[in-house]
């Protein structure tokens, strides 16, 4: 266990985990409002493609992130209209959104495959010795530094604001929310717009910060991992941080262990993040008390 391995795993898991964290945060907000979005993978892909395209066109990775947030929000608004406005089945619509996202992102990204962009610049963690091993390995882009503040903000939004209270009420019982004078549809639209923006940013982090490239389907299932992480986090943004680090860490760890020469078959190593996710879901599911919002997945057709 050399120090390079430890620092490398920490650095790697933070980089891998950041996009998962943003996606999970968005999905938490959406599910707190009672809407499960299985199309998160599609939203992330649209964000990745739009972010990369905007960064390639304007030369500014920051504009890329903004474009990704807007594109993700726009795509999720389509989903919101279908599910909230037209009462379509959430699971089916979510999956359709995933396919839409895969195709749309391919269309957006096509002219930019192979383009070279200047990605989000990496800033070393302040306070470390410049040029030392810490500064070399612990250097991240702005989205990484903003990830935890965003989680805290999202937590505060859901649990400490009036809007958040309304959101949670809609997620538990839209009828009760309506009776209390809230507008469930409006709250769900707002939640999904926020979720879409975060999902877009999550995708853009992969293309504009991590890999500096665009390829079709490049999120490789991370959207679905994020959906599982929401359950792991018990719909709480603070636990989402732990979940994202854990999964990002698992992926980073197995690659670092391979590089360090671990005497384990590479096939087994590649499985570990997914095994870990399954294990976590099984263990978490043992408890009878479900922390899910009561009206999750059900459409409020109710009073017009």
């Amino acid at each position: 266990m050399n120090s390079a391995l430890i620092v490398g795993v920490i650095a790697g898991s933070i980089m891998s985990g950041t996009s998962l964290l943003y996606a999970t945060l968005g999905e938490v907000v959406g599910e707190r409002a009672g809407i499960v979005n299985l199309g998160l993978e599609g939203i992330m892909l649209i964000g990745a493609a739009s972010g990369f395209a905007a960064a390639a066109l304007t030369g500014s990775p920051y504009l890329g992130i903004v474009a990704a947030a807007l594109a993700g929000a726009a795509a999720n608004t389509i989903f919101a209209y279908l599910v909230v406005g037209r009462h379509a089945n959430q699971l089916a619509t979510g999956l359709s959104l995933m396919f839409f996202g895969i195709g749309m992102s391919a269309l957006i990204g096509r002219p930019f495959v192979g383009a070279l962009i200047s990605g989000l610049p990496r800033l070393p963690v302040p306070g470390l010795v410049p040029g030392g091993i810490g500064a070399r390995l612990l250097s991240y882009d702005i989205l990484v530094y903003l990830a935890v503040p965003f989680s805290l903000f999202t937590w505060w939004l859901i649990f400490r604001t009036r809007w958040g209270l309304g959101l949670r009420t809609v997620g538990e019982s839209p009828a009760a929310a309506y009776a209390a004078g809230l507008n469930p549809q409006k709250l769900q639209y707002q939640a999904l717009t926020y979720a879409g923006a975060l999902g877009g940013i999550a995708g853009a982090h992969i293309s504009v910060a991590l890999t500096l490239t665009w390829a079709e389907g490049m999120t490789a299932g991370r959207g679905f991992i994020a959906i599982a992480l929401v359950i792991f986090a018990k719909w709480n943004p603070l636990w989402a941080i732990a979940g994202a680090l854990l999964f990002g860490g698992a992926e980073g760890l197995q690659l670092q262990l391979q590089a360090a020469g671990a005497d384990v078959s590479p096939f087994v190593m590649n499985m570990t993040p997914y095994l870990l996710t399954l294990l976590v879901l099984i263990v978490w599911g043992w408890s009878r008390q479900s922390a899910a919002p009561a009206a999750l997945g059900r459409n409020f057709v109710g009073v017009e």
Partner: protein, 359 residues
């Protein structure tokens, strides 16, 4: 000439030109060729090399028409795409990715008058042939370059899927490195897929974290790994397409690229002449493969060593000549034996000096 005669003459001239025009357009192309790629041709990698080969074929045979389809998945969907090309009159189809094999074979069965060439597999039929570069021995000169350029004596190799051929590439690379630098070690990270950019980025970072200062790869596109290495001021050696050197203007060492052009041109000509014969074609350095131009940091001495090593391979040097020991100490190729082209898919062990587990 009177004015009316002049007008008549001009009209006749114009008529002649107009008549000649469609007649020229009526000339059918000597051959319509279809090609399917598993990814995008802008990948600075495998697909780009295929595209470059096809373009060379197109230039060599004037009038040849090329129909291409990118991002064709390795599923039954590819059959539909190839059928479409046959409908458009293609008489030669290149299925450029390994996973297209069975589907191309299926379409070939239904169209015995269309020739199919698949890259990387083994199936054959009267109208189905197979081709690929014999990559393993060609990695030896790459190892020579890496062994000379490394200062940390740690080399990094990212492998997509640990099939025998890929492991053979790693082995030849390490053997080449050891031949000029007995302390050189190669660390291997397997990402599990031929094209997962995020994992490739993480793998490259992991290798550099573990001390590798020269990074190379066997994945579909070298772009991500080269960019990560360049971003961290580490040297890189490319694979699949020599164009990848554009991504690392400072720290590129050299690379291996495929030159499919001559084979594709020859095949197309044989289809036009009606003399096509299916075969399993495997060609190495000097034929289907080439060593990329060197980067600015490579000294003349190292360049000469690498070129000399490449020449030896072209003349038939086989690095897999016994005795060869694996990284657990067991002798895998006995003295006096050697592993030829037919055994290149059989590697399930790494040579001494490689840090990694093959299976």
């Amino acid at each position: 000439m009177t004015r009316s005669r002049m007008i008549a003459a001009v009209c006749l001239l114009l008529l002649g030109l107009v008549a000649a025009g469609p007649a020229a357009a009526q000339d059918k192309p000597p051959l319509i060729v279809g090609a399917i790629y598993v990814g995008s041709v802008n990948d600075y990698g495998y697909n780009r090399s295929m595209k470059d080969g096809l373009e060379a074929m197109k230039r060599a045979i004037p009038g040849l028409k090329l129909i291409e389809a990118e991002n064709v998945p390795e599923t039954a969907e590819s059959e539909r795409v190839m059928e479409g090309m046959v409908q458009q009159g293609a008489k030669l189809i290149f299925a450029t990715s390994f996973g297209h094999q069975q589907f191309a074979f299926n379409v070939a069965k239904n169209h015995p008058d269309v020739v199919f060439e698949h890259a990387g597999g083994w199936m054959q039929a009267a109208n189905f042939g197979n081709f690929f570069g014999a990559t393993q021995a060609a990695w030896y000169p790459m190892g020579v370059a890496a062994g000379k350029m490394t200062r940390s004596n740690t080399l990094g190799f990212v492998v997509g899927v640990p099939i025998g051929y890929a492991i053979g590439n790693v082995n030849a690379f390490e053997m080449g490195a050891r031949s000029v630098n007995p302390k050189a070690e190669t660390r291997v990270v397997v990402t599990g897929g031929w094209s997962d950019k995020a994992k490739e980025a993480s793998a490259a970072n992991a290798l550099i974290d573990q001390g590798a200062d020269v990074v190379t790869m066997h994945v579909d596109s070298p772009a991500t790994i080269i960019q990560v290495a360049e971003g961290r001021s580490m040297s890189s050696i490319g694979f699949q397409s020599v164009e990848a050197r554009e991504l690392a203007p400072k720290h590129w060492i050299t690379g291996l690229g495929f030159t499919w052009g001559p084979f594709m041109t020859e095949t197309a000509k044989s289809v036009i002449a009606g003399t096509f014969k299916p075969a399993m074609v495997r060609e190495g350095l000097g034929q289907m493969m080439t060593i990329a131009p060197f980067g600015p940091e490579v000294s003349t001495e190292v360049r000469q060593l690498v070129i000399a090593s490449g020449d030896r391979v072209e003349k038939g040097f086989n690095p897999f000549t016994g005795p060869v020991t694996d990284n657990t100490g067991a002798v895998k190729i006995a003295a006096g034996e050697s592993w030829g082209g037919d055994k290149m898919g059989n590697f399930d062990w790494y040579v001494e000096g490689v840090i990694g587990k093959a299976k």
